[in-house]
Amino acid sequence: MIEVRNINKTFGDRQVVKNVSFTFEQGKTNLIIGESGSGKTTILKLMVGLHSLDSGDVIFDGQNFPKLNVKEKQEIRKKIGMLFQGGALFDSQTLEENIRFPLDMFTHLTKEEKNERVNFCLERVKLEGKNKLYPAELSGGMKKRAALARAIANNPGYLFCDEPNSGLDPKTSIIIDALIKDITEEFNITTIIITHDMNSVMEIGENIMFVYKGQNWWTGDKTKILNTDNKELFDFVFASEFMKTFFQKK
């Protein structure tokens, strides 16, 4: 479980995150949704320490991350898997080397055990047999799946996904969503997903925070989101003609 309490962040004279508090539950797919530029990615980067907080707490299973020293932070980070928007796979390494990287760095597994784990992760994201390909040889969807395989390689306790469906077709998006949900349940990890894809929200939104102008504007789940009386959330959810027509008919 990860708890954020009253976090704030200002860039120059612009406050991009305002007093956000939320609890991300273990074993569930926790979604941060909102318009582009609303502060979703900043919240995520604040949580993992890629940006420094102005004030507030980020508590990973009882440990207040911003208050930890460098070594303690590194220990928490070893338990974090992250799926970046662009994949962030290491260009100079093959798929196999990318996935083995955290294992080489942090485990004392034998070569055979590492290979076994790599193949398991590749199989889990349906990329079996692609071990020797380089990131440049993969499609967008394959890159996302490969990045997911690397994120889960070291059995993370926390999985962060920054817009896992951006740039993907609806069919591939559904595959990625399903994979993330399955992995979350299978390994009972705390998963945090940033998205503005309503399809994802309706597929896997178990615990949702809607961010509006840097603030936690609404919280709930996918069953409540369609019946919201929150104007800003309603405008966000029903921004597309398809959603309006489809749900008005229902």
Binding site: I76, R77, K78, M82, A88, D91, D104
Partner: protein, 236 residues
């Protein structure tokens, strides 16, 4: 601050060693062809120029070999070749690390709990400081050899005169001076370029700018430190 992180204790020594070997190949071995070509040609040019400048019959012809050796050992190989390496290796390091920064690969390393500055930059500095002296030694040999080829084949001097010239009045201390310079320049090229790459923000345009800044600042610092070290060497 960045250098403190670069030289902090490695998280896994075997991974760092693997990177150092990779970088020796990437920074050092891949620079061999350009160094070889430039050194042979420059050696030849220095020999011809020296021979052309010697008009007085009072100056012995072995001066062609002597001048070529002095020029190559004292300045051409340690300074000019390092300036060329600043262009080749420096831009490569800055653009590689810069591209990793803008594509969030460095963030990915940090999220994994890895000291990205240490893992990416330390092996490059170590590899360069180790391999550059070998590259420059090769450059010296090939430069002097190039001078021999051109000096003898153009008839500027005989083989015996050239070989006598390159052995005449030799002071081993000059090699110490040259290799000290090379080690300092290797550190400057890799650390300055890595700094610009690591602090890149934005997109492809900024990667290009970082790469240019890396080469410009490395070159200026090389010239500045060359001046300082030469002054110290002469006045020791």
């Amino acid at each position: 601050m960045l250098l403190l992180r670069v030289f902090s204790k490695p998280q896994k020594v075997s991974m760092y060693l693997r990177q150092i070997i990779f970088e020796i190949d990437s920074i050092g071995i891949s620079s061999l062809p350009i160094i070889a070509i430039i050194s042979v040609f420059m050696g030849g040019i220095i020999a011809i120029q020296s021979a052309h400048a010697i008009e007085s019959p009072l100056v012995p012809l072995y001066a062609v070999g002597f001048t070529t050796r002095e020029s190559i050992i004292l300045e051409f190989s340690p300074t000019i070749v390092c300036l060329i390496l600043a262009g080749k290796v420096g831009s490569n390091i800055a653009s590689e690390i810069g591209a990793m920064r803008i594509t969030e690969q460095i963030d990915a390393l940090e999220i994994m709990g890895i000291n990205s500055a240490g893992y990416l930059i330390f092996p490059k500095i170590t590899a360069a400081v180790f391999i550059f002296p070998f590259l420059i030694a090769l450059s010296m040999f090939l430069g002097i050899f190039g001078g021999y080829l051109m000096g003898v084949s153009s008839g500027a001097c005989t083989s015996y005169q050239y070989i006598y010239g390159i052995q005449a009045f030799f002071e081993p201390g000059k090699l110490y001076y040259s290799f000290t310079k090379v080690i300092v320049f290797a550190f400057i090229i890799t650390s300055v370029s890595a700094y610009f790459g690591y602090n890149t923000s934005g997109g492809a345009l900024e990667v290009g700018k970082s790469s240019t800044s890396a080469v410009v600042y490395s070159s200026v610092l090389i010239l500045l430190f060359s001046l300082i070290l030469t002054y110290l060497f002469i006045n020791r």
